[in-house]
Amino acid sequence: MSQVIHHDEHYDAEGSKIGMWLFIFTELLLFGGLFIIYSVYRFSNQDAFHLAAEELNRTVGTINTIILLVSSMTIAMSTSALQKKQKKTTLALLGVTLLLGLVFLVNKYFEWGTKFEHGIFPGSQYMLDHLSQGEILFFGLYFVMTGLHALHIIVGMVVIGFAYAGVRSGRVNADRAALLENSGLYWHLVDLIWIFLFPLFYLIH
């Protein structure tokens, strides 16, 4: 006699949210390692870090900060819109979020491009000839940390892309919103890390 048991597909919104928070912990620790390195070298090369920070374009940095903050707002609004079952608004807000992420990357691209033109990039002969060790460290960290952050922006956009597709097809809806909420959490994390990177590189003098 074959006993048969009914097997419902496992869906645990609370569980996936815990999972996402745990993953966010790991991301914080990943950047935590970099923040430790930054503080150690800032402490031992204060003047050089001061000098090097002047090279960065604060205007672009500020614009990018505003862009990310607004995008965090739009994705939070999209979650509320989904709860209110306004599918079109949700999709529009997600689209805006994606667009803002893209604008951030474009700005970053031109910012890095200018640095490259001036001969400032890891391993460049110009840096070895003209900059002090502290300044080299500053730019090394600048490229690693903003680069890793940009990578997270791209990953975040991919995740949001999945959420967008999910909402459009109806798989993600008011009752099964975990994917959208988790992409929102991730996007806020990416935003939060930038909130720390911005003052560390652009503002502190």
Partner: protein, 537 residues
């Protein structure tokens, strides 16, 4: 994906026919039990490679001078041996194999919280393993830095480091995902009525381990990324020529890699905490003390990394702080040993193979642990640092501790996993041969280290010859024992006598389901009543 499916309850996970056939039925399965076996077989293969490399090193050291390989080959062999054994075997070992197989069953769940993520973790693991293998087979020579990838050598050496470093990073990612999965599983899927204080001890140690995997691994992840970027672009953070500090690499590396030692040993302790009450037929002594000491080890383990660097250059304050903290870890470890011994006291002990492995685990773990205190003390550490003493200590803990616990666990849960019993005579013979070989292999290294023989050299002075011969002979005896154990298990998995659901009279939940367990583990999710508990004999 189907919204629901019908899976018969009287078909075991081994015989279940899903929509895929043959190998695909395994490598596309999200069943935690099949994934556990995927891990087990991939690890077993890699483990044998690691063993062969270890044998090659011991053979080289049978006599002074060049025996079978020169300095560069020896460097490559101990590096690859270390990378395979650490990142692919002992770190993921018990959680990925026994954690995957037993954690859901022991807490009364049908599977882990994220089954697809679980399968994905295995693929990530395989990807990491392949990367390391690529670094050995292709490029300009195998990695030769040691498994620690110390800067600045790791970005200066001409050998094929990048795939190995990236492989270690990828393996870490797999470890993080497994840890994340287990934490959510334990929080969300415990059977109704199974409060935290009624959870068996193996899941408890998996829980402690999962937190370390989650919180420590990212730090080594970013460190390995940085050392790779240093190698590719020259960003300067670890390069003294550009103002960077190589000591900082060591700090960041050990912030992960010391807790990683507890990733290895905690689940081993958990397995031992299951084996001993079962074969003493007695309630575990000091359940809460064992749980508390598990969490204490996981916590304190974060703050002791500096003891790897006493000779690297650190302030005196930092040195004795790390030394004191290191000594603190000995306390919860000792609490566990006392609890295991007390559990045996006045129990009705049955001398079965898992019990032999567990008892010898306690023995080698104590030697390993106490020799660790020699290394944790500042004065003696300076003397034995980077000698064979460290190798002996490390292998007593990591191979003696984790390895013996792994074999205790496999002999304990084997009838559950495969539904068959192994030949106990051969299993016992294998154990005693292995145990004798193990002691002969590693004990002489304590002596050699105290006499001043450095580690990681293919050559040594004539005065160290006798003890090295004993050690090499030991490596052969141990491998012979290992062969007996493995052949016995493989044969029994196919043709051993059928084992019942509960051959050892265990009281934890995995013994309430048939052997091997059905696909969904439980026909009905068990409910823990007021008086139920995992060790109520």
């Amino acid at each position: 994906m189907q919204a629901s499916s019908h899976i018969p309850h009287d078909v075991s996970y081994l015989d279940y026919k899903g929509k895929h056939k043959g190998l695909l039925a395994w490598i596309l399965s999200t069943d935690h039990k099949r994934i556990a076996l995927l891990y087990m077989f991939s690890m077993m293969t890699l483990f044998l490679v690691g063993v062969l490399l270890g044998l090659a090193m011991k053979l080289e050291l049978i006599a002074p001078g060049k025996t079978i390989m020169g300095a560069q080959d020896y460097n490559a062999v101990f590096t690859v041996h270390g990378v395979i054994m650490i990142f692919m075997i002992v770190v993921p070992g018990l959680p990925a194999v026994f954690g995957n197989f037993l954690l859901p069953i022991m807490i009364g769940a049908k599977d882990v919280a994220f089954p697809k993520l679980n399968l994905f973790s295995w693929y990530v693991y395989i990807a990491g393993a392949i990367l390391v293998i690529i670094s050995v087979l292709f490029g300009d020579g195998s990695p030769d830095t040691g498994w620690t990838f110390y800067a600045p050598y790791s970005f200066k050496t001409g050998t094929n480091m990048l795939p190995a470093i990236f492989g270690a990073f990828v393996l870490g990612f797999s470890s993080i995902l497994t840890g994340l999965n287990f934490i959510v599983t334990i929080h969300r899927l415990r059977a109704p009525g199974m409060s935290w204080t009624k959870m068996p001890l193996f899941p408890w140690t998996i829980y402690g381990t999962a937190w370390i995997q989650l919180l420590a691994t990212p730090v080594v992840g970013i460190t390995l990324v940085l050392v790779s970027l240093e190698r590719i672009f020259g960003i300067g953070v670890f390069d003294p020529a550009l103002g960077g500090d190589p000591i900082l690499y060591q700090h960041l590396f050990w912030i992960y890699s010391h807790p990683a030692v507890y990733i290895m040993i905690l689940p081993a302790m958990g397995a031992i905490s299951e084996v001993i009450p079962t074969f003493s037929q007695k309630h575990i002594f000091g359940y809460k003390a064992i749980v508390a000491s598990t969490l204490a080890i996981a916590f304190v383990g974060y703050f002791v990394w500096g003891h790897h660097m006493f000779t690297s250059g650190m302030s005196g304050t930092a040195q004795y702080t790390f030394s004191i903290l290191t000594f603190l870890v000995a306390i919860p470890s000792a609490i566990k040993v006392f609890n295991w011994i007390s559990t045996m006291y006045k129990g009705s002990i049955s001398l079965e193979t898992p019990f032999y492995w567990a008892a010898s685990f306690i023995f080698v773990f104590m030697i390993g642990g106490l020799s660790g205190l020699v290394l944790g003390a500042l004065a003696t550490d300076v003397y034995v640092h980077d000698t064979a003493f460290v190798v002996a200590h490390f292998h007593f803990i990591v191979f003696g501790g984790v390895g013996f616990a792994f074999f205790a666990a496999i002999h304990y849960w084997f009838p559950k996993m495969f539904g068959r019993m192994y030949d106990t005579t051969w299993a016992n013979v294998g154990w005693i041969v292995f145990f004798i070989g193990f002691l002969a292999l590693y004990s002489p290294m304590f002596y050699l280290g105290l006499q001043g023989m450095p580690r990681r050299y293919y050559d040594y002075l004539e005065q160290f010859h006798a003890a090295n011969i004993l050690s090499t002979l030991g490596s052969w005896v141990m491998t012979f024992g290992l062969a007996i154990v493995l052949i016995n298990l493989f044969r029994s998995a196919k043709s051993g006598p059928i084992a019942g659901a509960n051959p050892w009279n265990g009281k934890t939940l995995e013994w309430t389901v048939p052997s091997p367990p059905p696909v969904e583990n439980f026909e009905e999710i068990p409910v823990y009543g007021e008086k139920d508990g995992p060790y109520e004999y």
